[in-house]
Symmetry: C2
Subunit: 299 residues, 2 copies
């Protein structure tokens, strides 16, 4: 069987159960970040790696600064999902020998600028030649307070589902310039018991079923409530991906307090209640006028 | 200018000064590992990333188990260089969609087996498709006691230079099956003040000048003392690379105690005094009968 036929989720699932997880691990791989016991009793170590590959995550002509920005911000978006504070980053650059040094320098300028935005130190890295496309792998290490670590698990039937910002249109420009919602996520876990959270990188139609499945609940979405990016269609908001917004579940009892406090703290960033979690452990198949099944069934 | 014309060392040097190093960083990038302040006062956090790329670090037909083994053991060899204890690993796999799942599973079996050898937990990872060759990036996080962290710096004029094992012939089979010298390195720093240390991945002729340059000293090698792998030529031992043995500098006052204790603790592993560090801040150009300049000049 080819990797293509299995799909990334299934591949990770098949590889994961056999990974050598020790007691020190607080969450499992497949989550947005790995969270492990740190030396400090009240804090957990948080680890995440991600990569961007030419012709997969960016096109050949893309501005190198933007590629560097994206390569750093993607794993930082997973830190936002975990409500963790990133501290250190390592960069692995795989580039053909004929790559222009000026391009690489511009790439690192993007990486550094993105790291600086969240006070992350780039503390190491490795370069390798490759006969293939440019690829950049970024690993980030940081911490989260034990009582503030959030994962995809923990969503409860009856919880409200919220998303930050607007969905859709990510592939146009946002995927190269987005700002991970770390500040928002840290504020959320400081002030509210957030049951489950993730960042929307593959699109709501793929990511929400993942959250529901991991939390062992179902979900119901009010499609008419989805906050669309200007010019984006409903289908874009569900299927396009690269939104890098937060999706989270919180008790409906906190709804009005959350909405009031959010509007005061982040007046420029939309927070939208898009639906709720329910007992039905099956995901809802959303049939839109076009007839597409947008939400992926659990496999 | 192309990356090819600049070389990896120069590229890293040009990129490094501008990296956002904060106070928390105990050693600089370009060292074998990044060593940063941990929460625990007596321990430092150690971070390392590395990659293996098809057609650069392994050939297309290479046994996938061995590729996985190498992908894990390369960064662990840097932990040996730092005398650090590895704890957690993250894997980024970039593979074409037509890759056989069986190949990927065998790759992970190699990764897991190698990790288990040193009680490392693989706690996360990411997969991506690629239009190019298979590439695996491995990031490892661990710790080192503050008073046992070793780097390439710290070598002093008059120090003895030692290498473990035998050099040369690494490309034949050893580069796919080597065992990083972590146990040996940990024993060394527990029992002796090791001034400087690194692992030999690019060959003594490239790596020793790096150590000398970073320590701001010169070196002198007794070529006739170099411990050659059976069948390997002197030139292989100096230039071939992929030895993954330790090279370290220690006060000559510790010489006889070290040699006695080593022979007792590691009777099966050779420890050879190959030369010494000296004041001359220039590297020695070794002209062998063939006429090659084997030791790289500092740039």
């Amino acid at each position: 069987m080819k990797v293509r036929d299995l799909g990334e989720d299934r591949l990770i699932e098949q590889l994961l159960p056999r990974l050598s997880l020790r007691k020190a691990v607080a969450t499992a791989p497949g989550d947005d970040c790995a969270v492990v016991e740190a030396q400090h009793r009240r804090k957990l170590l948080v680890l995440k790696t991600d990569c961007v590959v030419e012709r997969v995550h960016f096109l050949r002509g893309t501005n190198a600064f933007n590629v560097g920005w994206k390569a750093m911000m993607r794993p930082l978006s997973d830190f936002a999902a975990t409500s963790a504070v990133p501290q250190f980053a390592l960069i692995t650059l795989m580039a053909p020998k004929q790559t222009e040094v000026a391009w690489v320098k511009e790439l690192y300028r993007g990486l550094r600028r993105a790291a600086k935005r969240f006070e992350v130190s780039i503390v190491g890295g490795e370069t390798s030649s490759t006969p293939g496309p440019v690829a950049i792998s970024t690993s980030v290490v940081g911490f989260v307070e034990r009582d503030r670590a959030v994962s995809r698990r923990g969503g409860k039937a009856g919880d409200d589902l919220f998303v930050t910002g607007r969905l859709g249109g990510g592939l146009k420009q946002k995927h190269l310039q987005f700002i991970p919602r770390i500040a928002e996520s840290r504020w959320l876990t400081k002030n509210f018991p957030i049951h489950a959270m993730m960042d929307l990188s593959d699109g709501l139609g793929t990511d929400l079923p993942r959250l529901a499945r991991t939390s062992k609940v179902g979900f119901k979405i009010q499609v008419e409530n989805l906050p669309l990016t200007r010019g984006a269609k409903l289908n874009d908001a569900i299927s396009e991906g690269e939104d890098y917004e937060l999706l989270f579940a919180v008790s409906s009892r906190d709804r009005s307090r959350l909405q009031r406090a959010w509007a005061k703290k982040f007046p420029k960033l939309l927070l939208t209640r898009i639906g709720s979690l329910n007992r039905k452990p099956k995901t809802e198949n959303l049939k839109l006028p076009g007839g597409y099944v947008h939400f992926q069934q659990p496999s």
